[in-house]
């Protein structure tokens, strides 16, 4: 059960629409699944705020880790934010340090360019 919970959590928190992703995840569980009631009890505002904070912490790691991205952010924040959002949605949260986040971000940009 804990493995299911962790997988749902990371999927929902990185989704563009966390509330919709949670509803879909609950629907995909069978009726007797022990997580159903627990997930249904989650409040929407709290879920959205958690998703925002996870993204914000990742964004701050990237800003600290990449001079290049920092410069882009100062030059054109809207475009830099859109690039980060696409990266955040598409890429698992594998970095633990700013340097690693920067490396993964630039590798992702290279591959998706």
């Amino acid at each position: 059960m804990m493995d299911d919970y962790e997988n749902i959590l990371v999927h929902v928190l990185r989704a563009r629409d966390p509330q919709g992703a949670l509803a879909s995840a609950i629907k995909a569980l069978d009726d007797q699944h022990p997580l159903r009631a627990a997930l249904a009890a989650i409040n929407t505002d709290g879920l959205r705020m958690s998703a925002l904070l996870v993204a914000r912490l990742r964004f701050e790691r990237l800003l600290r880790g990449s001079k290049e991205y920092r410069a882009d952010w100062q030059l054109d924040p809207n475009s830099a934010a859109a690039r980060f959002s696409a990266y955040h949605e598409a890429s698992p949260l594998l970095a633990f340090s700013p340097k690693e986040e920067a490396k993964l971000f630039h590798a992702w940009e290279f591959v998706t360019a």
Partner: protein, 295 residues
């Protein structure tokens, strides 16, 4: 007398601003172990703060407490997670030999779900399986630092009734040697956000197992962040301790019979020169609360 401590900030500018404050005010230092490390290809190596903080402890003679975020005490047993936690404990063991941490706590929750780093502790389902998982992680941590515990969370959502959480915490801490780090700012934030009575939550916690209390301030989120325009209390450690949290300290302190430290938390990067006076006042007020309690 119960010592009053401060969290060492891993940030040069903040350390410069704090300067004499760090030499004069704290009776004890707290560090987040992960702020002592940098990860290079999965391995945890020491960073520059490791030597700096160690030298600060040696110079002042102050003892250290370890309080982390990243062990992911609610995390599961996948091969990748088992490996990651083994790396973590190896780094902790190396540092325990140097820092001689008095105890080691982490946040109740998951910070590495499915091996991914959210950096934000996320709530657990309040089930017997989840409680057993945390108990196993605490057993792992205690192989490195004998005295271990968890901090009550500041979750923005919970999987159930938030007032069931104290009972869940009790089941996690069923081994009486395990400890609770009581974060009163977290209790206040959760009560504000989830709409329950903070004192009712507090009364249901195993306060006789509290080893340490955290005090901190925070701010409310920007109303533009949520579609309904609602603000939530954030556990940002970025402002003065609010009156509600001081009030909770008055309530909790007489009931924490095994308390061994109170620590003031303030996030690096949120301290200006003009804040140092306030931090001194907060440290001294905490010390006077301890003295009053001891009398």
């Amino acid at each position: 007398m119960i010592p009053v401590g401060f969290v060492l900030p891993p940030d040069e500018a903040t350390l410069d601003i704090l300067g004499a404050f760090l030499e004069e005010e704290p009776d004890i230092f707290e560090v987040a172990p992960e702020t002592l490390w940098q990860q290079v290809e999965g391995r945890l190596h020491t960073n520059d703060y490791h030597a700096l903080f160690l030298s600060m402890g040696r110079r002042s003679g102050q003892r250290f407490l370890a309080h982390g975020v990243g062990y992911s005490v609610g995390g599961g047993g996948s091969a990748a997670e088992v490996y990651r936690r083994a790396q973590w404990r190896a780094a902790m063991a190396r540092d325990q030999a140097l820092f001689q941490f008095l105890w080691y706590t982490d946040h109740l929750g998951i910070t590495a779900p499915a091996g991914q780093n959210t950096a934000l502790p996320l709530p657990l389902p309040m089930t017997a399986e989840a409680a057993e998982c945390v108990r196993l992680r605490l057993d792992e941590m205690s192989t490195v630092v004998p005295v271990v515990g968890i901090e009550n969370p500041a979750s923005h959502f919970v999987c159930g009734n938030p007032l069931d959480e104290p009972a869940f915490i009790r089941s996690v801490l069923q081994n009486p040697s395990r400890r609770l780090l009581l974060d009163l700012a977290n209790v206040f934030a959760m009560a504000s956000n989830l709409g329950f009575d903070a004192e009712e939550y507090l009364a249901a916690l195993p306060l006789d197992q509290v080893i340490e209390i955290h005090m901190a301030g925070g701010t409310d989120s920007d109303p533009r962040w949520l579609p309904g325009g609602r603000s939530l209390r954030l556990d940002g450690h970025d402002g003065p301790i609010p009156p509600e949290v001081w009030r909770l300290l008055d309530v909790a302190l007489p009931r924490c019979s095994h308390l061994r430290a109170i620590v003031l938390e303030r996030m690096e990067g949120t301290i200006a020169d003009s804040d140092v006076g306030l931090l001194r006042e907060e440290m001294r007020r905490l010390r006077s609360c301890v003295v009053k309690q001891a009398a």
